[in-house]
Every structure is written in structure tokens, then in C-alpha cells.
Symmetry: D2
Subunit: 375 residues, 4 copies
Amino acid sequence: MLPSAPPPPPAPPAPHAGARVSVVVVGASGYTGAELLRYLTAHPRADVRAVYGHSKAGLPLGEVFPSLAHSALRLSAFDPDAAAEEASVAFLALPHGASQEAARALRERGVRVVDLSADHRFSDPAEYARVYGVPHAHPALLAEAVYGLPELFRDEVRGAGLVACPGCYPTSVALGAAPALRAGLARDAEVIADCKSGVSGAGRAPKEASLLSERAESMQGYQTLAHRHAPEMEATLGRVLAAAAGEDARGQRARGVARVHFAPHLAPMSRGILSTLYLRLRAGVTAEEVRAAYEASYAGEPLVTLLPPEQSPTTLAVRGTSRCHLGLTVKGDLLVVHSAIDNLGKGAAGQAVQCFNLMVGLDESLGLTAAGLYP
Amino acid sequence: MLPSAPPPPPAPPAPHAGARVSVVVVGASGYTGAELLRYLTAHPRADVRAVYGHSKAGLPLGEVFPSLAHSALRLSAFDPDAAAEEASVAFLALPHGASQEAARALRERGVRVVDLSADHRFSDPAEYARVYGVPHAHPALLAEAVYGLPELFRDEVRGAGLVACPGCYPTSVALGAAPALRAGLARDAEVIADCKSGVSGAGRAPKEASLLSERAESMQGYQTLAHRHAPEMEATLGRVLAAAAGEDARGQRARGVARVHFAPHLAPMSRGILSTLYLRLRAGVTAEEVRAAYEASYAGEPLVTLLPPEQSPTTLAVRGTSRCHLGLTVKGDLLVVHSAIDNLGKGAAGQAVQCFNLMVGLDESLGLTAAGLYP
Amino acid sequence: MLPSAPPPPPAPPAPHAGARVSVVVVGASGYTGAELLRYLTAHPRADVRAVYGHSKAGLPLGEVFPSLAHSALRLSAFDPDAAAEEASVAFLALPHGASQEAARALRERGVRVVDLSADHRFSDPAEYARVYGVPHAHPALLAEAVYGLPELFRDEVRGAGLVACPGCYPTSVALGAAPALRAGLARDAEVIADCKSGVSGAGRAPKEASLLSERAESMQGYQTLAHRHAPEMEATLGRVLAAAAGEDARGQRARGVARVHFAPHLAPMSRGILSTLYLRLRAGVTAEEVRAAYEASYAGEPLVTLLPPEQSPTTLAVRGTSRCHLGLTVKGDLLVVHSAIDNLGKGAAGQAVQCFNLMVGLDESLGLTAAGLYP
Amino acid sequence: MLPSAPPPPPAPPAPHAGARVSVVVVGASGYTGAELLRYLTAHPRADVRAVYGHSKAGLPLGEVFPSLAHSALRLSAFDPDAAAEEASVAFLALPHGASQEAARALRERGVRVVDLSADHRFSDPAEYARVYGVPHAHPALLAEAVYGLPELFRDEVRGAGLVACPGCYPTSVALGAAPALRAGLARDAEVIADCKSGVSGAGRAPKEASLLSERAESMQGYQTLAHRHAPEMEATLGRVLAAAAGEDARGQRARGVARVHFAPHLAPMSRGILSTLYLRLRAGVTAEEVRAAYEASYAGEPLVTLLPPEQSPTTLAVRGTSRCHLGLTVKGDLLVVHSAIDNLGKGAAGQAVQCFNLMVGLDESLGLTAAGLYP
């Protein structure tokens, strides 16, 4: 966590031992919804009371997701009054743009919200409008929302009423770059992020570009230097820099402005993101100093693992988890960081559950500690 | 469960609420071992005390399985005395043939054993010798061992000291064919089993035939009508027939001898088995009768789901689980059953944990209820 | 070829040495169209003069198929007059139902037609209407059309004006079952066909069920015993039986009616069909007799290979080709045939080119002899 | 081609029209050998007279490569005298290190050699020894060998007796970076090369790391900044710079020294390399200038295609070909080049055939013009 973080708010009281927190899921017909329900239906302290889905209202969950064929749950149309009656926490797995109304309705009714969409990731309405091309419908929500990346902003998440879960790409890039920037090791706060994503990141809506026949045996870049996750990455790393300012061991102030050159790629796989980050080190910075900075950043983190030097992260090893694996290579003044997550896990649903745990005072990694499937 | 099963032995006392059962895993460097450790390290009532592996003794678990990079466990050389001191239950994930000595050593020391290998699946030493080409080293163990397929032989598993987990193919075929045979619906006890397996079934040992470049885009039959899992299938279904004898609603006695024509195939995927079974129905048997027989067999089963008629089982929906999904098609006198499991889950490690739960008096599906990853 | 086939019509005169046959492709925006253009643009004696596509008219071919980025061709709207002026042969890669009008227009203008759709595969209009649920718009075309499976009906293809290319499943099943039926080795003319297909068989139209995230790691049956390719298989094998009638070495007349129990499956791959066929042999038929029958059927066939006993066909080995690989297993009275083709090659475009070669008097396998990619 | 290239040697006389060039393949049991035989057995002017393979001598080719089941060829032990009698050109698809003796024996006997291994890619014996850790056995061969990348060094290949085919990674990187360096657009001759390769690049020898179960769903970096292809890339691009020196339109001399920061990755696919290159542009260089430089470099190249701005290269579109697809993105002073090839095609066997065509005076792209399989 940021050494310079403000003192944490008093943690909310944990639910009574054994008591379960009632939750609802809004918008559960895509892959993020499936993963969320996988986590929540097995979570020892969560009680899924309702699952809302507009287009598939009425269907049993098992018809929407064959992996939940054993579930007795059915989708119903979203009703904020009913949701407020049922649950104290709502997860929004809606398409970008659709979360704003739902979040407002739920917050007005006192329901705490974990939003997995991109709708509340910027605190500045102008920045939101610039990146997404339309003004935000409820800017007050942007002021309330906190950015749900616990390893960097844990204390803010603890007391939050509205948590905006980071995007999958930004999560992998921020976790991979933050320690070097925070410790002032990078020559300038500039990162080339070459990211390889599984196809599930493109969602479940049928598109020619997501067909197995188009994607198998296909590696391809897309939206090179033009993807809207780049500003989110820059905002997050900028906050890391600003928080670290003044504490640079070498006596130089960080600039508070990070630049990310973001080149996303689609890889022929379903899940996972491997981000390869290229940063220039300041003169004289050694591989040992880099390693020490990463160890210091993530010591004690339950879900981030810095691999030993002889191992290199792979998306397979974190599939189905909310974990992040990191690997470091230094040669001359070049630092290469490999950062692997599951785009639907740590990049979406797993992180949402991690935030939920923090919000309601449970152990942060409750329900999230299982290892990935191997193979 | 078999209606004709003998009265169950008294269930062993469950461990005190909250107490954990100490276990060890013997032979944990292959995929079955990885899956077993995935289940056991997340199991709420199991405590993994040691992990034994001959060739990789001394290595941290995370070097053997990158998905366990966060684990503090290390492999050590198998020592039955130490194992007996540490644990009350041992899981054997050894290669076929290697379990016999380990099982003997552990049973002599009072440790209960769940064997995932093929070493104790036949009760008749002569049958074992015939199928595996060598005599069994400790035939007494065959007499003690029970066949760990809870949906068919639950009560035997409950009190067992030595459980022989079924093979992956036999599990999928037995669960798919048993209800029709038991209810006397099949014209003769003859099954064509066209099975499609993921490549992980061939193990982790490097073989040209298991390379991604050889298997991607490759569907291929192998050991057609000559695979040694066929006798195991026939033995299991023969027991089902024998148990049902005399109870046939149509008044005919089952023969007690089942024939399985088994054609295994490798599919271009890592995990999963889809078995397509072809059975001839007796004259006049209707689709409704067939469906009713399957519903009766699996009503209340926590891990077997008969899909609604409009859905067809897929390996994806059960991946990473100990579940079985079944689908039925009847046309004329032909019954086609689709049976989907995860070869490493219900086909190996998941079923081993299910048996463990039964052996020690825990809820049978404890630690096994999570839905599969989708996608 | 069928020993009982009628005397062949006089072969059409081959084009002058070196002269090229002008062709057009109608409906070239799907996978069948892509494969056809791959073959035709590299064919030493074909000259692609125009490529027609309704929805993508005006686009360069390379925008529709990135693999043809180097091509100077553009799609244009179909115009039968222009086509008749440009070309002597037209390939129709239109969706089922759409070929009828195009075929009529082209045949009226004297253009010879190779139809890759299902529109002209039945000679009986009533059978067409029964299987496809609507009457055929131009039944006279059904009378003219010949079924383009050269290994079984070569002589008919030679002089044809309208060739109906078989479906991918029927091709693999017919090539696999015909020799046993023809030689009177099967106890009854009944075949269980368990077929595993790549996802490209479902076409390029975006569908949830064809997404990589839905199909990777997924084996699944569909339309079990209810797929409309079954009647096509039965018609083809019925013709084989009828042609062989009276020639049965054992003195029994074949019935002329074949039954195929067809269970298609989707495999997690892009291309390929592996059909596993189960037939009951007549009492006393030996493995050697079976092998001899297949060798006799396919001796000299340039594109069908009976593998040696120790090898088993795989879709990988025929990918990108118009070849068929066959493997045989006999145990007791059960014959299992494995038949592997590329669904887009021998199952569609490759076979179309093979028919084209025959129609215009070229060497049948011209442009089709290259081996498959391995891997 | 390099504008500054020396005047070409007189082209060798083309073989008489229709005459075929006799060739042999040495070391044909790996994937490179399979691809080479796929090209050569279908090549209109090559005649494969013998196929040599040590470990599989005596086997029919179809047992080694199921895709060649129809071939009558058999492997035999390598015999340079027999090879010299049979053929005028030999292709060496031997493991690195093993080509040196074979090349010497063949060159002594007057056979022209196309070497697909890494053994003759450096002209400087000291550089070879530094990169591969052992001295070259026959340094005189290094002096004779020319680097077989026709788009950059075509004229040298034309008259050559010994051609060293480039590695797969270096081919994709050199084709992607050369135009920018040659035209003096890059701020310094420094390239970050983030390359994603299919698993076939690791060869056919069984290794745990190449198993389908380890690689499916797995993106992973390896040998980051430590792969021995980097010096080969630097040598090639250094030659490009040196050749361009003095011709820089902006009046600055290129340095002749290129630096490549090379981060290879394994992607979950069989074939293909997508290289993503990051270069810093000199101040004021525009996207239009960059595009113009690439167009100028590759105008008229039969096998390199610069995609239109709205398309992005994919490995799928070049699979099974000897083609290279390039895409460009410029933002600020950053140029991102995507370069896609088939690692076994343009990255190995296809390029070898292209060099062969040049060596013997045939059209350079003979036998190489077919489009890739799509899908």
C-alpha cells in the first residue's frame, strides 16, 4: 500500500461471525456476471438474493450460464426497490454507460454498490466526458466513488459506499508499474504497455471478430495507442506518483504525471491478460534495487506474488483467480515487467469481491484464495 | 444410489465442528496432483501437512505448479512413518503400478488411503492381472478397497479404509449408462461409448503426441476397442446390473454382464471428457420412461445434473468442478446419452475429495460446490 | 468407384494445354468462399474473373479476407449476364436457399455451375421439400444436378452442367461407410455416425455459440439424431447399396436402404471433421476382408488414403487439403471406421475444385495435391 | 531492396522451361522439415529426390508426418555422396550445430546449400562463437554464406552457393524495422521488439513446456532480453543502416549500429509470429512520411504487404504462407509496427524456398503465392 496514504477510516464492523451479507447482482448475462456469480455463490459469507438481467429476465440461471445448471436462481428484471429490500450490497455488471442510473437508484436507497463497469473510474467529470465522449449523468457519483484497486488504495475502499472496479488492462498495468514509479526508479514516468488479452475481454455479444474461427491461431494488435483504458492507467499511476512525491530516496520529486503508451493485443485464448511493461531506469539503478522495491510494495499482499527470478508469469497460472503474478527483468537501463492476471478475475469479478470483502469488514481475500486451475 | 444396496455401515463420527482433518498427498508433480492440491488447499476442513514427490523433492510447490506460486509448501521424499505421524488420510496421485507399495505401507500404519491410480479398481486379483499384465503385489489390498464412485456405491465409501478412485473415462460412462441399465430399459446390456477427452488425460510427462503443435486442431481416435478402461467400465456396470436384478419393473432379470465397446478420442483441449453413449432400448420404451429413470437415479445428487431437454452437456460447463452433466436423446429404439465431466475433477481429484468427505463424515460436497469457470 | 456404374459419358475435351478456364465465384464472404478463392487463385488452370458478394459489394477482397490482402480483386454485386460473359463455370458459395435463383439464371445462360450449398443435393423434389421444409423453386434443376462426390459418382460429374457438392458431414460418412456397404460386409445397412466438427462448419455469421470463449475447451453434441444431413447420408449410401445389389460376394442382395444414426458434435477447433462410424459386420467377416474391401474401393484414388493399421486418422493431417484419411478397427462383429477430412476442403471447396477439374476435363486433383499443414 | 546494394551478379541461367531442379532435404523429422516438404512436394519446378533423417531412417514419410500419408518417400540416413549424385541443391533442416558438417560435405561436392539452421547466419566467426558459445567448425563457410532475406539482400542470394536462412524472429523484426531505419526516421537505431510466437517455434522434441496442457490459455514471456536471436537482429539492421548511410534525406548519417531490446513470448497457438516494434521517431517526422517510407521499401515485393491503415496484421492471415503483413501506427514521436509472419513459412521453410527460387533463377515466389488458410 502507499506509504503516504492518509490514515485509514475506522473499519466498518465485521458482520457477526457466521452471518451472511445479502447481495444482488445487476446485469448478469455476460462473462463478468458469470464469474461474479461463480465467486459469490461459493463465498462463505455472501448470500445471493437476486440476479437481475433485462434481456433474459425469467430464465433460470442455468440456461444463461450452463456452468450454473445446478442453480435454483432465476433472472428477473431490475427493480431498485426490491433490491434495496433484499440486499445491502449490489454488484453492477452492466455495460458501460448503463451503470449510472442503476448506481444512482441504489445509492439513493442506501444500498452500497460495487460497479464493474467503466462508469465511475474517473473522479473528474470532465475527464470522464473526454474519454467516453458523453457527459456523466450523475457527476455526484463520481465524487463519491473510490477506485477499487486494494493493493494501491485499500483504505479508501474500506469505508466506501460506491466502488468503481478498475478495468482489466489498467489493473495489470498499474500493479506492474506502480512500485517502480513510487520508488522513483524510472527515468521518467513513461511506460510502454504491450498487453495480450484473452478474447473474453471483448464480451459475450456475438461479433465476427470474437468467433473461434477468427481468433484461433490469431495474434493481433488493435486500437494501438488509441484505447480508452490508457487515460485510466495514466490517472492511476499519476496518483501513485503524487502520493510518492517528496519521498523519493534519491531526492528528486516525482512529477505526478505518468504517460502510458498502450498497445493492446488479442491472444488466441479465452481468459487472461499478460502485460509486458517497458520502463527506462534512472542512471545507476540496479536490478537488486528494482527487486527490493517490488518486494517492499507487495510484502504481505495476499493476492499479488512476485515470482522468483527464474520464473516468468503466465496467464495460465492465474486463470480463475483474483491473483496477480509479477516478473522482473533488468538489463542496462531497461526494466521489463511481466504482469499476469485473469481479466475476468483480478481484472473484474475477483477484484469486485475483494473490494466487497473490504467494504463489509471481512477478510480481504475471503473466497478468493484458491489456486488457479493447472492446467 | 442403488436401491438394492446393503444397509450402510454406521457413518464415522464427523470431525468436531471446525476441526480439520490432516492429510498428505503422495506423488504430487502431475496434473492430478495439481488439481488435488487446488481442492485441498482451499478445503475448509482439510489441512495439508505434507506433499511428497520423489523426482522433485526439495522444490517449493510453486516451482512445480506455477499456479501455487503463493504456497509455502515444499515437496519432500515420501516417508510412510512421517506420513502416519502427520496425517490420518493420504491421497495417492502416483503413476499406475506405484501405488501398491505406498498403499500397503500406509494401511499398515493405520492411515486411510484415497488412491487415484488404477491400482485398486478391481476386486479380483485375476482380473487385475489380466488387464494390467502383471500380478498385483498386495492382493489383500484389492479385497479391502472399495470403488469410489459415490453416486453408485456411496455406502461402501463411507466406512472405507482404502478407496480406489475410478478412472476418468469409466466415471463418465458409468454415470451416463447406469440409470438405463438399472431400470432395465436397455435391450441388452451393451453400450457403445464414443468418448472425447482433453489432452491432460495423457499426463504431464513430455510426449510428442501431447504437444500443443500436434494436438491443436486435431481430433483423433486411439486405442479403439483396445483401451484398458473398458474392463473397468464393464465391471462397474455389471455390478449395477447385478444389484438391480430382480427389481426390473418389466419382470425380466438383468444379466449381470455388461459389454462396453469403448472408442476413446483425443480432443484439442486441455480438460474434460464428453462421452456419447449409444444404447438400444427394449421395444416400447419411451423417451419419458428414460427421462424418468435418470431423474429417479440422480434426484438429490449434489454433483450430478440432468440437463433440461433443450440443453446439451458441454465439457466447458463442468471444467474445474467435480460435477457431471447429463443429456438424453431418444429416437426410435436408440438412446443417446451425453455425459460431461472434467477428467481431472469428477474424473480424478474432485471425486477423490468427494470420497474423502464421505470417509471422514463430512458433507459429501464440501469444497466441491463451486460452479465451473465460464468461460 | 462403383464397379456397377454405367459406362461413362465421353469426357469433355480438355482445355488446350496452358489455356485457363475462366470462372466466377458467387457469394464469397464466408469461410467456404475464402477457401474456394484460396484454391482458385492458386490453381494453375483457373482464371478468377469476378467475385460476387451482395453485402460486401465494392470492398477489396483483402478487407473481407485478411489472408487475401495481396489480391487486387474486389467484390461486386452478382449479375448473371456479366457472369455469363466473363466465365464458363460459376461456383456458388451462397447460403442454403439462395442458390436456386442464381443457379437457374446461370444455367439459362449456359454457364456450368458448381453449387456448394445444400440446394441441389436431392434429386427428388419431395425429399428436398421434406428435409428443408420448403418446396424447391426450380425442380428441373434437381433433375439436372449430379451429386459431386467423385470417389463414388465420378462419371456423372464428368459431363455435368450442374454439380451439387455434398455436405461436409455426408462426405466424411459416405467415404467411410461406402466400401463396407458395397461389399456386403455389414449385417444390416445401419450406421451410427458420431461426428466431431470444427466450429467453422457453423459459418462466419456471428453467433454466441460460435465465440471462442464459448467453444474453447468445449466438446458438445448438438441436434443429436435430428440433423438434416442424415437424410443426405442415407440417400447417398442407399445409392451405393443399390448399385452394389446383385454383386454381393456372399450372394445376398443389399436392400438399397441405408439408415444412419447421426450424432454431430462441435469440437474446440476451427477446421476438420472426424467421423467415427460403428457398423455391425455379418457373421464371420474378418478384419482382413474388411481391409481388403476398403483397399479395393480406394486403390488409385488420388485423394483418399487408407492409413496403415498402426495409424489413426486425425483432422490435423488433412487440414487445408481435399484429402480423406481412413482408419479401420475390427473387434468381434463390430467395425469402427475413422474418417477424417477438412470440412472446408474435401467437405466443401476442395471437393468443388475436384468436381470442376472433372467437369472441364482437367486432371482431377490438379491444384489439390499439396499436403496439409503440419502442424 | 537496399537502394545502395552493389550491382547484382549475373543471374544464374534459369532451368530450361519445364525442367525440374533436383533437391534433397537433410534432417526432415521436425516441423521445419515438414513444412519444407509441403512446399517442395507441391513446387512445380522442384523434384524431391531424397529425404534424409538420422533417427527415423527407414520409415515412410507418412509415419513421420501424417500429413504426408500419401507420399511414397522414405527417410534414409544422410550420405553426402549419394546426395551429390542425386541433387544440385540441398536443404538443411538440421538442429543448430549439426549443419556445419553437412554443409561442408555438400559444398565440397559442389551441391548448393540452403541452411535453415542458425549455423551460418553470422559472417564473423568471433560473433558466431560469442553468441552460440562454441567456435564454428568451418569458418570458411561463414565467409561464403549469404543471409537469405531476399527483401533486404536479394542480389546476394541470387548467385549464392550457401544461403543461411534467417531465424523466424529476426525475419519478422527486420522486415518491420528496416524501412524506418533505412529512411533515417528513427531518433536512434533502437528498437523494442515485443514478439509473440506460436509453440511450433520450440520444435517437435517433447518438452513439458510445449505440451498443450501447459500452453493452452497461456501467454508467457521467456528469455526476456536474453534470447540469442537479438544479436542476429542487430547485425541485420546494422547492415541496413550501413547501406543507407549517407543517403539519409535529412542529411544525418546513420550510425551503422542498431540496438534491439528483444522480449519473446509464447502465445497459445501452433504457428505464427506477431512482432510489435516500438521505435522513437526523430522530431517532426509525420505518420505520412513513415507510411511513404514503408511503401517505398516494399513496392513490388511479391510477399510483403503493407496493410491499409484500418487493418491490423494477424498471424492467422499469413498462416501457411511465406508472406509478411505489416501495419503502422504513429502517435507523437512513437512508431509502432506490427509485423506478422508464419514462423515455419516466411520464418523458415517458405523463405528457404524463396531463396532456392532465386538461387536457381526461377521466379522468386514460385510455389509460394497461395493465400493463407482462412480460417
